[in-house]
Symmetry: C2
DNA sequence: GCCTTTCGCTACGAGTCGTAGCGTAACCCC
DNA sequence: GGGGTTACGCTACGACTCGTAGCGAAAGGC
């Protein structure tokens, strides 16, 4: 529930910020991303769509970068990991979900843009990490633990430190690269092949 | 040797474009990317650095997107695939090279940005594909053929259609995600683990 | 030597940025 | 219910970038 900017010091009396305005602004931002894309999205346009003054936006967000991160972050909350009975099915399920999210025009145009900006903006990178990346990574952690409970993976893999991070980078990286760089569809056939490749690698690592 | 914009129709007499200006502009663009990053790079600034008029830039490139793609494309020519004796060593070598390229501030800030732009600009996507993506993909093709010659991979893998594409998305995607999204170092330990994972998956696929 | 094209330069309207200042509105606390 | 405090809408502003137009001059092909 992190609010826009850091709002901790001495929250005494005074008019509280409108929660409705927050929702309207974020919704307007997503709409603007769909219609205009990242590069043509302007703060003034978002303010107009949301029915608020431009100054209100700047009171809550430092700029376009932070606003867009918050606007798309909620979309990543939709990602879930239902138990499909096997590690293979679980991986396929999360890959399909993630691919569907990347197909949406809001995320498609915004995700790479904010990551590009974050390469020169450490606070922004941290915001992306906590708002977007960590939420995805939890799915990997949950999937691994579930697979271990099923006995599909060894309980204490040798040198497990960073293994979750590796799996996460492979899954998320491959899907993003397929969808946005290669710009080819993440269809059932691709998902099947990718999952088979990853699962084969995990099995080989478990034997060693 | 594709020149900036499409220059095919009726190239009769007249003053030819300065090749030196082209080189100076692309060099200035890379320098500006290092110092300013993608978002603060302006066409006027690049023109000033290159010692040419701003109008000269617009005569050759449609805008910032196309200019930056051309400026960073040449960096991807440095990628090579020397024979290191085994598929494992070859993969590790290309991963290290690619990671080193992504560590450079020019590519780090530019690559994600132009990909983000390309999601809403089909001609730009095509330019990226031919100038950057295909050059990387060739390394995967060469590595696979070399491994087949060594006998490390079956000569005619079942349903090989799109396998190179899959491997490419996995390798490039994982490295990019590690370096730019997770923003953690692609060190020797990570490369070793990733390569082992990928190689295990390939071996499992070969057995099936 | 003529023709064609590029070049540097200047200037321009349009658009965006981020902020300042003001009067008003909404809420908390006493 | 009155103060005090903060958020809000609105307007206006300087600074900056964009992409283009117009000009005279320069550099090559034929």
């Amino acid at each position: 529930m992190c609010r826009s900017s850091s709002r901790s010091p001495s929250r005494t009396g005074g008019r509280p910020r409108s929660a409705a305005a927050d929702a309207a602004i974020l919704e307007a931002t997503r709409a603007a991303l769909v219609e205009l894309g990242w590069s043509k999205l302007t703060m003034g346009d978002v303010a107009g769509r949301a029915g608020v003054a431009k100054t209100t936006l700047y009171r809550r967000w430092a700029g376009k970068n932070e606003l867009v991160v918050d606007a798309v972050a909620v979309l990543f909350d939709e990602l879930e990991l239902p138990d499909r009975g096997s590690l293979l099915a679980d991986i396929e399920g999360v890959v399909v979900q993630f691919a569907a999210l990347l197909e949406r025009p809001e995320t498609k145009t915004a995700l790479m843009a904010v990551i590009a900006e974050s390469t020169r903006d450490e606070p922004l990178r941290e915001r992306i990490r906590t708002s977007i990346v960590e939420r995805q990574k939890r799915l990997v952690l949950a999937g691994r633990q579930r697979a271990q409970a099923r006995g599909e993976l060894p309980d204490s893999p040798a040198s497990a430190t960073g293994t979750d991070d590796l799996i996460f980078d492979v899954i998320a990286g491959a899907v993003v690269h397929r969808a946005l760089v290669s710009a080819e569809p993440v269809d059932a056939e691709w998902v099947r092949r990718f999952t088979a490749l990853l699962l084969g690698g995990l099995a080989a690592a478990a034997q060693a």
